[in-house]
Each structure stands twice: as structure tokens, then as C-alpha cells.
């Protein structure tokens, strides 16, 4: 084959071009630390990279939801703590009042103290954070209100919520279950027929106040009288009893009411325990997601990033090849028989 001048020059420039484009790519890799700057440079890695980014972003959403639920639970816990101490204080006062040495006037003072505790309790029950009521279920209206001297929860008289019929049972159950919830990656699903959120697939983080305040009435404690089960009204009833004159005052009734009050207060402590369990679950999920997040980031680095040392060595050796090619060009292009003709 004849080797012509143009063949040599064009081949040489093609080679130089390909070497320098390789050099440029390595240079970009070293400078950016990325394996590819465009998807087309490494399609399969890029698609994997997109998947990882999606999962990372999903995790970010879940983690944010967990933080939100955790904050809410912490707030609920401290509000419940306040309620507990109010209840303990009330118990103290009741016991104090039940003491036989107390005069009518003393009892009245205690009664007014109990009324103060009552209003504190109401206030705490209506605690709100970022526009949502801690114990209001999913309503954004003040959950607890006293209408006509009786405590209402979400517009319903608690006294009326007796679980004596199937309909009432259902209503109370739905009020008790009413809760705020977030998606923390448990695979949210919806009921096939009703289309409602399946509560087992989301994280319920709020507790409806009705769960620990109590509902319905009790007609067995004091014969001939229906007494409210809810702590607020019950406390009021006890205060009313204390306010009675010596002649009307009945230690026996107070004692029985106190028994009911102590019994109903237990639910508050149970609720605190439940919240503790939920918080613990969130902690578990948090650490799980942190691990997942870490693993994903590590995978992202392997998929999208370059091995710095390897790339730098490759870059250097490519640089050597480039310089060699340049030097060779000097000798390849110039030489011909004309250089030796006299």
C-alpha cells in the first residue's frame, strides 16, 4: 500500500483527537468526582443512580414525617404529664377534703381549688401545636368545651356517649380511633370497598382525648344518680359534693366518687405508656432509616462517583500517552526523502 502524506496527517490528527477527548473525559472525572456527566456516558449506572436518588428522597420524606410525629408525641407526652399532675393534685385535695376534721368552710375552699384544677384540666386538654389540637383527633376545632355545665368532645356530650347500643358502640369506637397519621413507609394502602386509609399501614400519632378523659355515665356508684364517667365532670361532681352544707354533705358519696375518679384516672397513665411505646417505635424506625440512608448514600457514591486514585492514575497515564503522541507527531510528519536531498 502506498502511504501518502495525507493518510499520515489525517490519521495522526484523528489519533490526537481521540486521545485528547479521552484525556478530557478523565480530566472531568477527576475534577468533578463523578463517573459520568451525561446519562449517555453510562446509561445503566445513571438509571441505577436515578433509582437511588428516588429512594433517598422517599426516605427523606419518611424521616421528616417521623420527626414531625415524634415532636407531636413529645408534646402529647408533656401535656399528659401536666394532666397527670393535675389529677394527682386533685386526688390530694379530695383526700384532704375527705378528712373528717375539715369544716364546711374548708371543704368549700377545697371545692374551689378543685374547680381551678378542673379549668386547668380543660385548658391542657385543649393544648394545640402548629394549629392542631393534641387530643382532638383529626378535627381542627377546639375538641373540649363545656356547654351547659357538661363536657363536650368534638361537639358531643361525653355523657351521651354510653356504649349501650351497637350504634353508640360504633360511634364511640370511631371517636376513639380518630387520629392524625402520617406515612412512614409502611406501605400505605386503602380499603378496597370504602376507599378509606387502612390505619394499619400508616402511623397514628395522636390520641383522641376521649380515650383517657372517659365517656358515658355510671349509675351504679351512687344509687339513684347517674354520674359522668369523664374526669372533668366527675371532678365537678366531687366539688359540688364538697360545697354542700354539713347536713347535705355525704362522706360516703365522696368516697365512692373518689373511687370512680381514681379508677378513671388510670386510663391517663395507660395513654402515657402507649405514647412511650409509640415513641420507642419511632426511634426504631429512625435508626432503621438512618442505616438505609447511609447504605443508599454509599451505593450512590459507588454508582455515580469515581474511584479517585484509579481515575487519577488513569488520567496521568493518558497524559503520558498524549505527550508521547505529540512528540511522535513531530518526527512522523516532517520526515520525507526531501529532508535528505541535496
Amino acid at each position: 500500500m502506498r502511504i501518502t502524506y495525507r493518510m499520515m496527517t489525517s490519521k495522526y490528527s484523528t489519533n490526537l483527537n481521540s486521545i485528547s477527548s479521552d484525556l478530557d473525559k478523565l480530566n472531568t472525572q477527576v475534577a468533578t468526582g463523578r463517573k459520568y456527566a451525561r446519562t449517555s456516558e453510562d446509561v445503566s449506572s445513571a438509571v441505577k443512580g436515578y433509582q437511588i436518588r428516588r429512594n433517598l428522597s422517599k426516605l427523606e420524606g419518611y424521616q421528616d414525617n417521623i420527626r414531625h410525629a415524634d415532636d407531636f408525641l413529645t408534646n402529647s407526652e408533656s401535656a399528659l404529664g401536666q394532666i397527670e399532675s393535675s389529677l394527682a393534685e386533685a386526688t390530694d385535695k379530695i383526700l384532704q377534703g375527705m378528712n373528717g376534721t375539715q369544716s364546711e368552710g374548708d371543704r368549700k375552699i377545697i371545692a374551689s381549688e378543685l374547680r381551678t384544677i378542673q379549668s386547668q384540666l380543660l385548658e391542657t386538654l385543649n393544648t394545640s401545636t402548629t394549629g392542631m389540637y393534641l387530643f382532638g383527633g383529626s378535627n381542627n376545632e377546639k375538641p373540649f368545651a363545656v356547654v351547659g355545665g357538661k363536657l363536650q368532645f368534638n361537639g358531643r356530650n361525653l355523657d351521651d356517649l354510653n356504649e349501650d347500643t351497637a350504634v353508640a358502640n360504633e360511634l364511640v369506637a370511631s371517636l376513639k380511633q380518630d387520629s392524625l397519621y402520617v406515612d412512614i413507609g409502611l406501605g400505605v394502602s386503602f380499603d378496597q370497598t370504602t376507599g378509606e386509609v387502612d390505619r394499619n399501614t400508616v402511623f397514628n400519632y395522636s390520641t383522641a382525648g376521649i380515650n383517657f378523659v372517659g365517656n358515658g355515665t355510671n349509675s351504679t356508684v351512687i344509687s339513684g344518680e347517674t354520674v359522668s364517667n369523664n374526669l372533668y365532670d366527675l371532678l365537678g361532681r366531687i366539688a359540688t359534693e364538697f360545697e354542700k352544707t354539713d347536713g347535705d354533705y355525704s362522706f360516703d358519696k365522696v368516697d365512692k366518687l373518689h373511687g370512680l375518679f381514681s379508677e378513671n384516672s388510670l386510663k391517663t397513665y395507660q395513654t402515657t405508656t402507649e405514647i412511650g411505646a409509640k415513641t420507642q417505635y419511632l426511634e426504631f424506625m429512625t435508626s432503621r432509616y438512618e442505616t438505609q440512608n447511609f447504605n443508599l448514600q454509599e451505593r450512590q457514591t459507588t454508582v455515580e462517583g469515581v474511584d479517585a486514585a484509579y481515575t487519577y492514575i488513569a488520567f496521568q497515564s493518558q497524559k503520558v500517552a498524549y505527550q508521547a503522541a505529540l512528540q511522535m507527531g513531530q518526527s512522523v510528519v516532517q520526515q520525507s526523502v526531501f529532508d535528505y536531498m541535496s
Partner: protein, 524 residues
């Protein structure tokens, strides 16, 4: 008997031939880097006397009477030319495709910077935030802003696709007018000049080179076929080649004549439908051909047609539509995406207790209608823009029946938001306008598939282009090996012809000496 001075003529012709050869060496060296130059050679023939009747004459020794430089010819292999041109068309098609596809990839690519996939993920996360506090209108506003970013990014994709389309159409226009039309016109005019020269028996090498160069360039534009037959018969003894260039008709009908000796065709671009541009040619007989798109199978023209009209899987190949994944394909894909996105989320927002009309979150440019949503006009509905809380966070926004007359609570459930999040992360069937499912996956996966499709095409075509370039380089080398100038060879020739020239001069001196002896010394 030969004349005394015959030998002088031999010497003079020898010098003349060497001189011509040395001149050609000079010409070759000068044009070593000239584009399209074909190396030339002086054809030297040996000359003899003949035709004298010697049968009854006193026999004399018949000697040749030297060499004569008759003409200069080009060293060129027409077979390699044909291969060169076919390969050139292929290489140019891939080159055009790679450039255009890279532009398309730039629209969708998210390797270095996040675009729609990132925005979709942020939208989901903002919906998650909204699910935490469904009644707060400021978070609802954040979610709406995220939705706006999604729609704006989709709009941007549509606009960028249009820009790429405009750019590619402009490029195609340039190829049609500044390349194709100019080349055929020049080739036709060269054909005429060359025939004129050939009639007088000249070999217009430089004109041949010019014509070949133009044909080479034309071969990069389309799949052309060059023919030199049948020759034009000027007289009984004189036939000269008749150059014609055509595009073969694939369906077997009449070929499209681009150049027929001095006549040439004219191509035009009909971009009245920007989604489906048509090439038209008025051929050498003045007939307008509208079957150009289906017959141009190669060259940069094909590349541009594939890029602009390429309908990918939406193409109806039975009517000759391009099934390359071009701008049309991706634009259509984005329209389907925009439609589906609006449809799914609007359905969730509208499907609430007590709602009688559609409550769209996403609409077309009117802000209210959802019937003609495209990627370009998708926007957040006017109603949502006015009121961030227009997004229905729950399916049951009113407690029914209310527990007491004066108790009006707004349920703060986030069930609908969770439905939206689920829709955004669930696999759904993406359907084209005919109702065929084109992909089943999440919105994010749909975009990943679009990016990976265009990226795979870029990768594939880059590889095709590399291979084609290598093959082209080999053919080009083979051609250069015949037609190119080798400096070494020219150097050797130069020395050789110089020696011959010197030898001829020496021969002349010997003759002169002989004559001097005959005249001045013989018989003295």
C-alpha cells in the same frame, strides 16, 4: 535513411518529457494538502517511425525515435469512489443523529443537575409535609409551589423540545439550500464545462477534481448513485461520458434524477407542519417529487428527518413514517405524561363527598379546562392558584351529619394527600391517545425511562458513528493510497527525472560531438 538531425529531436523530446514529469512532480507537491486533489502523472509513450515502404529499399536499421509526453492523467479508482460515497452518507447520517440526539439528551438529562425527576420527588415530599398539617394553608402553599415547579419543568421540557426542533429544522434548511442545491447546481455546470473540454480532446483534470469533490460532498447529504453511462455520442468516433446523479426509488418507481449532465434538480423544505417536515424535489425533468422523505435513506438529510419526524413507537411504518425516536416521539411522550399527571391528581382532588363538579388541580392554559392538556400548556388551575387550600386533603371535608348544630369543625385528615402520594409512587398505566398502554410504572420511572431511552440512543448512535467513521477512514485511506500524493514518491520521481533530464543533455552533447567530428574532422 533517417535524417542526421533526427537524433536531436530524440534528445529534445526526452528533455521535454522529463521536464513535463518534473513539472507534474512540482504540481503534485504543491497540491499535497489541496482538498480533493488527485495525483497526476504524465503519460509518456515511446515514438517510432512507421508507414514507410521498405520492402524493396535498402534495408536500414529501424530505431525508435524517443519518447513523447502525450497527456497528464489522474490516478483514481472509481470503485473506491463509490464505496467512499456510500460510507460517507452513512457516517454523515450518524454524525447528524448524534449531534441532534445530544441536544435532546440535554433537555431530559438529570445526571449532573436535577430536573423533572427531582421536582417530582420534592413534590412528593412537600405533599408529605402537607399530610402532617393538612389544615395549614402555608404548607399548602409550599405544596402548590412544588406543583408549580413540576408543571413549569414540564412546560420547559416542551419548550426546549420545540427549540431543538426549530434548530434542527433550520439546520436542515441550510443543508437543503446551502449544500444540496448548491452542489447539484455546481456539478451540473461543471458537467457542461467538462464536456466542452472533452470534445476538444482535453483532459481537464482540475475540473474533474472539483466535480469529484462536489459529488463527495453531495454524498454526505443523501444516498446518491452516480452513473457515467450511456455516453454521449458526439460523432461516430467521439463519445464522451455523460454524468448523472440520482436517488434510487425504493418502491421501484421512477428514480429521482438530481443531476442529468447540465440539468439539475432543486430541493425545497416544506415545514408547514413543523411536526412532520417534508422534503420536495423538482427533478431534472421539471416534475415535482413528493416521495423524497421515503427515498432519502441516508446522509445528513435522513439524519435530520429521523430527528425531526421520528415517531418511535408511535410511527406507522406502513405509510413510511420514521420509527427513530426523534423530537416528535419525545414531545408526544411528554404530552402523555402531562395528561396522565393531571388526570390522576385531578381525579383524587375531585373525588370527595359532596362534590358535584370536577375540582381540577391541573389544567391547560385556560386555568379551568382539562380537555386539551399538553406538556406545553399544563399549569396549576386558577382555582388552586387563588386558594392554596383548594387541594382537598380529605375525602370527607364536612362532618355529616354534624353532631350539634353550632359545632362546625373542619376535618383535618390527610387521607387524600396520602392518596396523592400513593398515586405518585404507584405504578400506573400510561396510555397514548388510542388507549394503548405504552408503559407501566411510576411518574418518576416514566421520566427515567425517557432519559434512558434518549441516552441509550445517544450511546448507540455514538458507537455507530465511531464504527462508521473507522470504516470511512479505512476507505478514505484506501482512496488516498491511490489518489493521494506521497512526498517520498515525488521526491524519488524528482531525482529520477532530473537524472533522465541530465542524461538527455549528455546524449545531446554526444550527438553534438559526433556532428562536430563529422563536419570538422572527418576526411580532413
Amino acid at each position: 535513411m533517417a535524417s542526421t538531425f533526427l537524433a536531436y529531436n530524440v534528445a529534445s523530446r526526452a528533455m521535454e518529457a522529463s521536464q513535463a514529469s518534473i513539472n507534474i512532480v512540482g504540481n503534485n507537491i504543491s497540491n499535497v494538502n489541496t482538498e480533493g486533489y488527485t495525483r497526476q502523472r504524465v503519460d509518456i509513450v515511446s515514438v517510432t517511425t512507421s508507414g514507410t515502404v521498405q520492402k524493396y529499399a535498402t534495408p536500414v536499421i529501424s530505431t525508435g525515435i524517443g519518447a513523447k509526453a502525450v497527456r497528464t492523467t489522474q490516478l483514481r479508482d472509481p470503485f473506491i469512489d463509490a464505496r467512499y460515497r456510500t460510507q460517507n452518507a452513512e457516517t454523515n447520517r450518524y454524525a447528524t443523529m448524534v449531534k441532534g440526539l445530544r441536544n435532546l439528551e440535554d433537555v431530559f438529562d438529570e445526571a449532573s443537575t436535577e430536573a423533572l425527576q427531582g421536582e417530582l420527588s420534592s413534590f412528593i415530599n412537600d405533599l408529605q409535609s402537607l399530610s402532617q398539617t393538612p389544615t395549614s394553608s402555608d404548607i399548602a402553599q409550599v405544596a402548590r409551589s412544588a406543583a408549580e415547579k413540576v408543571t413549569q419543568t414540564i412546560n420547559m421540557y416542551a419548550i426546549q423540545l420545540e427549540e431543538v426542533r426549530t434548530e434542527q429544522t433550520e439546520n436542515l434548511e441550510v443543508v437543503v439550500n446551502s449544500e444540496f442545491n448548491t452542489y447539484v447546481k455546481n456539478i451540473a455546470s461543471l458537467n457542461k464545462q467538462i464536456q466542452n473540454e472533452e470534445i476538444y480532446g482535453n483532459t481537464p483534470n482540475e475540473l474533474y477534481d472539483q466535480r469529484n469533490l462536489l459529488i463527495d460532498k453531495l454524498s454526505g447529504v443523501a444516498n446518491i448513485e452516480v452513473s457515467m453511462a450511456p455516453a454521449d455520442v458526439i460523432t461516430e468516433n467521439l463519445s464522451i461520458p455523460h454524468y448523472s446523479i440520482k436517488i434510487k426509488n425504493q418502491s421501484g418507481g421512477e428514480d429521482i434524477m438530481l443531476v442529468d449532465n447540465g440539468r439539475y434538480s432543486e430541493m425545497s423544505l416544506d415545514a408547514s407542519d413543523p411536526l412532520d417536515v417534508q422534503l420536495k424535489i423538482v427533478d431534472t425533468t421539471g416534475v415535482e417529487r413528493s416521495d423524497v422523505n421515503s427515498n432519502v435513506l441516508d446522509g445528513s438529510l435522513r439524519g435530520y428527518i429521523n430527528l425531526i419526524n421520528g415517531k418511535g413507537s408511535f410511527a406507522d411504518t406502513t405509510v413510511g413514517e420514521s420509527d427513530s425516536r426523534g423530537i416528535y416521539y419525545y414531545a408526544r411522550k411528554m404530552d402523555i405524561f402531562a395528561n396522565q399527571f393531571a388526570k390522576e391528581l385531578n381525579a383524587i382532588n375531585s373525588n370527595i363527598t359532596g362534590a358535584t363538579t370536577e375540582l381540577p388541580l391541573f389544567t391547560d392554559a385556560s386555568g379551568t379546562s382539562t380537555t386539551n392538556i399538553t406538556a406545553k400548556n399544563l399549569q396549576v388551575s386558577t382555582a388552586w392558584l387563588k386558594n392554596p387550600s383548594y387541594i382537598n386533603t380529605t375525602k370527607n371535608p364536612v362532618i355529616d351529619p354534624p353532631p350539634t348544630a353550632d359545632y362546625t369543625a373542619t376535618p383535618a385528615s390527610s387521607d387524600n394527600i396520602l392518596r396523592m402520594i400513593e398515586k405518585m409512587s404507584d405504578k400506573i398505566d400510561f396510555k397514548d391517545s388510542l388507549g394503548n398502554t405504552i408503559l407501566t410504572g411510576t411518574f418518576n420511572e416514566y421520566m427515567t425511562s425517557a432519559v434512558s431511552e434518549v441516552a441509550t440512543d445517544v450511546e448507540l448512535h455514538s458507537n455507530f458513528f465511531k464504527t462508521a467513521t473507522n470504516v470511512f477512514q479505512t476507505i478514505s485511506d484506501a482512496r488516498d493510497s491511490v489518489a493521494g500524493v506521497s512526498l517520498n514518491e515525488e521526491g524519488v520521481n524528482l531525482s529520477a527525472y532530473q537524472k533522465v533530464y541530465n542524461a538527455a543533455m549528455r546524449y545531446f552533447n554526444v550527438l553534438d560531438e559526433n556532428l562536430d567530428n563529422i563536419i570538422n574532422r572527418m576526411g580532413v
